[in-house]
């Protein structure tokens, strides 16, 4: 009997709570809906998951603060996510479904330049502002899309900063050997470096690409040894770069400057190479050691970093940060516009000029975040140290021993 009474009581309580919640919901009936096609399975699952984590962190923060401030009224945010299984076709269909069926106010693009382009095309047709969180190739932003805004800066920006830091720190580094992975982003970073270096009056003594399925890099690295370069520049993913650095040590190949894009940005690069990682330079769109104070739900890079580490037990990288920053930019644009009207928010995005935990965000005419001085880092004493920009500099460039 007693148990039954209890259950009864709980039932009533639950009903009251549900009713209360419904009533509260009515009061806040208007929510801002943001749609995100994500690669949660398939080839880009790792990257898709990174975006999802960042979105969730932002969503919890914003809703805990009562939502986005739209002309003095707080509006809660609802995030609608679908898994597009790393299939371009599905990304396109889901973007359309989000706009037509779910009636989202804004969209977030998937990982990478290719899929961003597809979703941006749909968004443009319906006039829905779409935030690109991880597209850095100019070809996406020169399509004349008016509703596309991205938080990453162009590839060329990071390379120009890198060359400036090296030519100032080690002026004798004139002859560069480039080894790039035959793959969209790593290859673009190798080509961009080659062009920018030539423009800066440096000499490219070799430019080679290794295939995606390369297990061993002994031959291209031994070739570099005979050229005796002053600067060795390698692009690829962590596995390739760990292997490349290890084989450089094995074959006694080194140079005063060794750059790896984007190895030292990731913790696993330094962890698995240990002392071999020492002195390697790199460029990134974001690094948590570059501290900013910003007007956003976190307020500072440190707060973002601390929350991330407590939650994920690992360091955030640029993918996480750029994804969260995209939502911050959208939030600030809505607040600035004072409405969720798509065209007005689009205009607010175009004229946005803010500083966030991620750094400054100011979109150039093509929609890319151009207002950023990209950090250059070097592994010193087993840790990534910021060499550039001046404002957050932690150390100076040292030649590799």
């Amino acid at each position: 009997m007693e148990a039954k009474a209890w259950r009864n009581g709980i039932g009533r309580l639950a009903a009251a709570l549900v009713f209360g919640a419904l009533a509260a919901g009515m009061a806040h009936a208007q929510t801002i809906k943001i749609g995100a096609p994500l690669a949660l399975t398939g080839g880009l699952a790792d990257e898709g998951k990174k975006q999802a984590i960042a979105y969730d962190m932002w969503l919890k923060r914003v809703n805990a603060q009562g939502g986005i401030n739209v002309a003095g009224k707080r509006m809660k945010v609802e995030l609608i996510e679908y898994d597009y299984q790393t299939q371009e076709q599905r990304a396109q269909q889901l973007a359309e479904k989000l706009i037509v069926d779910d009636k989202v106010d804004f969209l977030l693009a998937p990982f990478g330049s290719g899929h961003t382009k597809v979703v941006a095309g749909v968004a443009e047709r319906y006039g829905v502002p779409v935030m690109a969180t991880s597209a850095s190739s100019d070809v996406i932003f020169n399509q004349g899309y008016k509703y596309l805004f991205g938080t990453l800066a162009p590839n060329s920006g990071s390379v120009e900063n890198l060359i400036a830091v090296v030519t100032k720190g080690i002026p004798s580094a004139k002859r560069i050997a480039i080894l790039g992975r035959e793959d969209v982003f790593p290859k673009a970073m190798a080509t961009v470096m080659s062009d920018a270096a030539k423009k800066a009056g440096l000499e490219i003594i070799s430019l080679e690409y290794y295939p995606v399925g390369a297990l061993d890099l002994a031959t291209p690295i031994a070739k570099i040894r005979s050229l005796k370069p002053d600067w060795i520049y390698v692009t690829g993913y962590s596995k390739d770069l760990v292997l490349a650095k290890k084989q450089m040590a094995d074959l006694n190949v080194t140079a005063p400057v060794v750059t790896m894009i984007t190895g030292p940005v990731y913790r696993e690069f330094i962890d698995s190479l240990g002392p071999l990682a020492e002195g390697v330079t790199s460029a990134s769109w974001w690094h948590h050691s570059a501290q900013f104070k910003g007007d956003d739900p976190w307020g500072s890079t440190k707060a973002f970093y601390d929350e991330f580490v407590a939650r994920e037990k690992s360091d955030p990288d640029y993918v996480h940060a750029a994804a969260a920053a995209a939502l911050v930019a959208l939030q600030k644009a809505v607040e600035k516009a004072g409405t969720t009207d798509k065209a007005k928010v689009r205009d607010a995005l175009a004229s946005l000029d803010i500083v966030t935990f991620y750094g400054p965000i100011k979109f150039s005419a093509n929609g890319m975040n151009g207002g950023r001085d990209l950090p250059i880092i070097q592994v010193q004493g087993g840790k990534p140290v910021v060499l550039h920009p001046e404002s957050i500099k932690q150390g100076t460039l040292r030649p590799v021993k």
């Binding site: 080679e208 290794y210 031959t219 070739k223 596995k239 292997l243 698995s272």
Partner: protein, 286 residues
């Protein structure tokens, strides 16, 4: 760069290639099973070695033995409990089964170990022989790979179980009539294939970063080596491995790294047409 270095690089990676392929080749030759799990077996061996080194400070050169034993047991059980049920079916059936099992194993490894690349940071230094640089850890891996391959060869030639495996390979029915327990021989053969993969994984952990994302790459190499060298024989895998190592080194040196892999596949295609039995033919069952 002198040719000495190219040859040295080719031979060092070639010995590891031989080790990668020998277990795969044995299983394919004897059981007529294309073991899609081979690459994952190698990586599992690599991970066991890595964790033994990280947590227990066991040198990979020592952990080769226990890792190989663990993989043998795993391989034996998989064959005994599962593959033996369909082993007489057409090759596509067993291929599908091992493919499915590989997906399970691969995803479990992804879940447990994540795809983050790790490395056994054991830098032994290098030997400099008049301009030809030999990294000591690769030399050790090369010697171990050759010893392991030689050991397998000796087992196949001289031991009772080795002869039984060869007998089953030559004629399954006749071997059964002679009183050989064919299913047992199959399970042991598959176990040996896994053992070689595990031992090879321990060596691979010394020279390559270990990550689940390269399992397919190892499997692909094993295929090419088997076709180049010849299927089902230990010398075939050895010749195929060393040949592929040298081919890739020279193609990479003369042309470009992209061409290296392409050349390996091209030579494989040519051999398939001209000499389908591979370089070391099938003159007999060792």
């Amino acid at each position: 760069m002198d040719y000495g270095q190219v040859v040295a690089n080719g031979l060092m990676i070639g010995a590891v290639y031989a080790c990668i392929a020998v277990g795969f080749s044995l299983v394919w030759g004897v059981l007529n099973v294309i073991n899609m799990m081979h690459g994952s077996f190698i990586m599992l061996g690599g991970y066991l070695t890595f964790f033994a080194w990280l947590h227990l400070k066991v040198s990979p050169i020592v952990s080769v033995v226990p890792v190989a034993v663990i993989l043998f047991v795993l391989g034996y059980l998989i064959q005994y409990l599962m593959i033996n049920r369909v082993v007489t079916q057409p090759v596509l059936t067993t291929l599908t089964l091992t493919f499915g099992l590989d997906m399970i194993l691969y995803n479990f490894m992804n879940l447990w170990f994540t795809a983050t690349p790790r490395r056994v940071a054991l830098d032994l230094g290098r030997l400099d022989l008049g301009g030809v640089v030999l990294p000591l850890d690769r030399v050790v891996a090369m010697i171990l790979a050759l010893v392991l391959t030689g050991l397998l060869y000796a087992v196949m030639r001289t031991s009772r179980i080795g002869r039984a495996i060869v007998a089953v390979r030559m004629d399954r029915d006749a071997a059964a009539l002679m009183g050989i327990r064919v299913n047992q021989v199959y399970a042991i053969t598959f176990g040996i294939g896994a053992l070689m993969a595990g031992a090879c994984g321990a060596l691979v952990a010394v020279v390559f970063p270990i990550t689940t994302s390269v399992t397919g790459l190892f499997l692909g190499k094993a295929f090419v080596i088997c076709v180049i060298g010849g299927l089902g024989s230990v010398p075939g895998a050895l010749v195929g491995g060393l040949a592929l190592g040298l081919i890739e080194a020279f193609a990479g040196f003369w042309f470009s790294p992209q061409t290296a892999i392409l050349t390996g596949f091209l030579i494989m295609l040519v051999l398939l047409v001209v000499r389908p039995t591979g370089l070391v033919g099938r003159r007999g069952y060792e």
